[in-house]
Amino acid sequence: MPLSIGDPAPDVELPDDDGDDVRLSSLWRHRPLLLFFLRHYG
């Protein structure tokens, strides 16, 4: 079941491109966040 507007965003900890762990919630704490999940190639 997809998430809907009004639902709380899941908070997951992932490494960034420097290898440092980032809690996703830290990214929207101060400003709204536009979060893109990619299908990436090369």
Partner: protein, 134 residues
């Protein structure tokens, strides 16, 4: 990717930060973001924990390679060439706007692999949100 990079300033002007999540390893994610000159936050999710938490689905064959994507796929190939896919080939993408309270204000679950969110719609949503700084 070009459009995302091109519209980054629009999203910032609307008061938002941008982050991308990829299915690659940390090294693959770093290489990808460097190659595409992405100046926003890039995070790696090779185990798809966030993809699953945000309920992004794996597409069927029609969604990934069916007629609805042939023309878009051809255009993309002609424009950008091709490269080896990283991550699960059937995993679909998605886009979300999250406000400073952690609530989803916009969600985009694609109908197929070339169904991308409207940046105009996203900016419209962002313009309605309170920000600490614009």
């Amino acid at each position: 990717m070009v459009h995302l990079r091109k519209d980054y300033s629009r999203f910032q002007d609307a008061g938002a930060d941008v982050a991308v999540v990829t299915m690659g390893s940390v090294e693959q994610t770093a290489g990808f973001c460097l190659k595409h000159r992405l100046s926003f936050r890039c995070v790696a999710d090779p185990d798809l924990a966030a993809y699953q938490a945000f309920r992004l689905q794996r597409g069927g064959i029609a969604q990934i390679a069916g007629p609805a994507v042939w023309l878009s796929g051809l255009k993309s190939f002609l424009r950008h060439g091709t490269a080896k896919p990283v991550g699960r080939i059937r995993q679909l993408h998605g886009a979300f706007v999250i406000d400073t309270c952690g609530i989803l204000q916009y969600v985009h679950y694609p109908a197929n692999s070339f169904d991308n969110p409207s940046h105009d719609e996203i900016v419209t949503v962002l313009d309605t949100l309170p920000t600490t700084a614009k």
